[in-house]
Symmetry: C2
Subunit: 357 residues, 2 copies
Amino acid sequence: MSNQEIKVTLSTSKKEKPKSDQLPFGKYFSDHMFIMDYKPELGWYDPRIVPYGPIELDPAASILHYGQTIFEGMKAYVDKDGGARIFRPEMNVKRLNRSNDRMCIPQVDEDIVLEAVKKIVSIDQDWIPNAPGTALYIRPYVFATEANINVVPSKEYKLMIILSPVGAYFKEGLNPVKIAVEDKYVRAVPGGTGEAKTGGNYAGSFRVQENVAKKGFSQVLWLDGAEHKYIEEVGASNVFFKISGEVVTPALTGSILHGVTRDSVIKLLKHWGVPVTERRISIEELYAASLEGQLEEAFSSGTAAVISPIGQLTWKDKDLVINDNKIGELTQKVYDTLTGIQYGTEEDVFNWVTEIK
Amino acid sequence: MSNQEIKVTLSTSKKEKPKSDQLPFGKYFSDHMFIMDYKPELGWYDPRIVPYGPIELDPAASILHYGQTIFEGMKAYVDKDGGARIFRPEMNVKRLNRSNDRMCIPQVDEDIVLEAVKKIVSIDQDWIPNAPGTALYIRPYVFATEANINVVPSKEYKLMIILSPVGAYFKEGLNPVKIAVEDKYVRAVPGGTGEAKTGGNYAGSFRVQENVAKKGFSQVLWLDGAEHKYIEEVGASNVFFKISGEVVTPALTGSILHGVTRDSVIKLLKHWGVPVTERRISIEELYAASLEGQLEEAFSSGTAAVISPIGQLTWKDKDLVINDNKIGELTQKVYDTLTGIQYGTEEDVFNWVTEIK
Ligand SMILES: Cc1ncc(COP(=O)(O)O)c(C=O)c1O
Ligand SMILES: Cc1ncc(COP(=O)(O)O)c(C=O)c1O
């Protein structure tokens, strides 16, 4: 399968590109898309890059009924010499297959997806924006297409990749954001689908996101689904706290996404000799640390915003203000180093970047 | 909105109908479909019945990424005089809006959906199969269509209705089935999306369903997501137990679907003077009752199978055989009465049936 060739049909017209300093997240798409289909008797077949355009689905296509779908997200950056660089794509492709497994979607050959990512980025390379903080967001996704509404896994799938030039994820930029601790709704629970990057996890969070946005918060901090006690994630990001000089982040206990940025942050901190621990952290513990002045910094990590400092956590009627609502020193260093590696201004010590020729 | 007229464009050709005694669940679809669109500036607009056929979606359509979707399921039956009858459609339409609310999808006018259901069933009335146990399954569903991959609720939606002639849901027919009690994976948790009929809940259950099917079980019994202790549902059905003459069913504690069949069973039992209680039931309690010979009957309830007797529950290494693996007397009576009302051979004491002229 990995020696299947990707057929390319180039678009005969080029869309106008949005201004690179006015990019909302995920609204504009490049000139091409990658598609590959799955049928039991053929496996994954017909990998192709074609002009971006609508697809046809039967009204009974499983995805429209039972949400059997997974996705990935990574970014391509342009360096000062105009070279395209993708950050740790092999991690995303591995996670794609782990999500597939949880959602009963057949495994794909990781090499062909990686090749497809590189090929479509190189074809639409002029879509990588170059204003500071911008990138070309790469969205691989798989969805169930069989026209059958029996409640069983679909027999047919499409894997697609689309590309979207994106600006900074948070309107606030690198300014600290206000986060609401959610104690009623939950995102995920061990035994559920929280470790998979699957649609339902996200649709399920919209109600909460809307509730907290109305109250002036930019994101929600999720507590665990069983006891509503332990910290899990912030919005669609992982989360880190610096407490008395030590960095802690929730351990991957079964309901938390294994973030690529999370992994990168941990590796960087260890490389620098900063103590970092993955463990359960209760919201009470965080509150106590905050009262004693030990909660020094907090930030979330994810592909979309890379690193986002947290200035305030509101839990019930308590406001935990962190570092006077200013970005912490370590947070800034993590951000600078990660984005430096991504844009090619810092040495890529871990060999994280795939360059596109 | 409720005085919006449903435009009808009839199909110029008619598909061949499958044999009414060879109907798998959800594979064949009738000649027409209902569609209505949503845009913020127009609300729900352009309700129409058109020939069944493929729809077009942008590759960035929200449904393909974040699973913002809900669905409903009800059935139309044909009586001995050829009249079409729909079972409690107003309950499904109410639940559709409750699901919409949880998933941040705009509310729809319930009257127009009800009217659409009746109209499309009357247009495709000759698709209602008439072999015993068969019906025309009615599938309303809503999904997010905006071409935007920002992780926020979609601004645009489609509500569609398709119709599928279906046979008995379980291959076993009305024979008691073997159910595996699942103690690792969970379907839902309070604060999650379990009360909404939304895609992600179903895709999330495929892995488990596949695991237990391999071991020879026809369904899974879900325990609660927090403690893995209390009984919630069986597959995509609610569940009832008769213990020492009393019928018990899990209370609707936030993670269980409010089944229309469940509600109908409870109303019937009360009408008959059979004691019925909605409360938490632990799997330990059930096991103890079984050991003492008090677990007299068990069945699941849902639109697809109506009533399905449970012959055996396997929990860890324990087999709880119920009523000697034979259908219980009360289970049979509930099944006979419900299906009798549905097919029009029993008096419709509760006024549950909507007749289509
Ligand atoms: C739920 C959730 N948590 C965490 C993350 C962060 O993961 P990554 O760093 O791989 O982007 C994401 C996605 O970006 C996510 O969707
Ligand atoms: C998860 C779940 N539980 C229970 C039911 C039973 O509900 P109803 O009786 O309305 O069909 C369904 C759907 O049919 C379901 O999907």
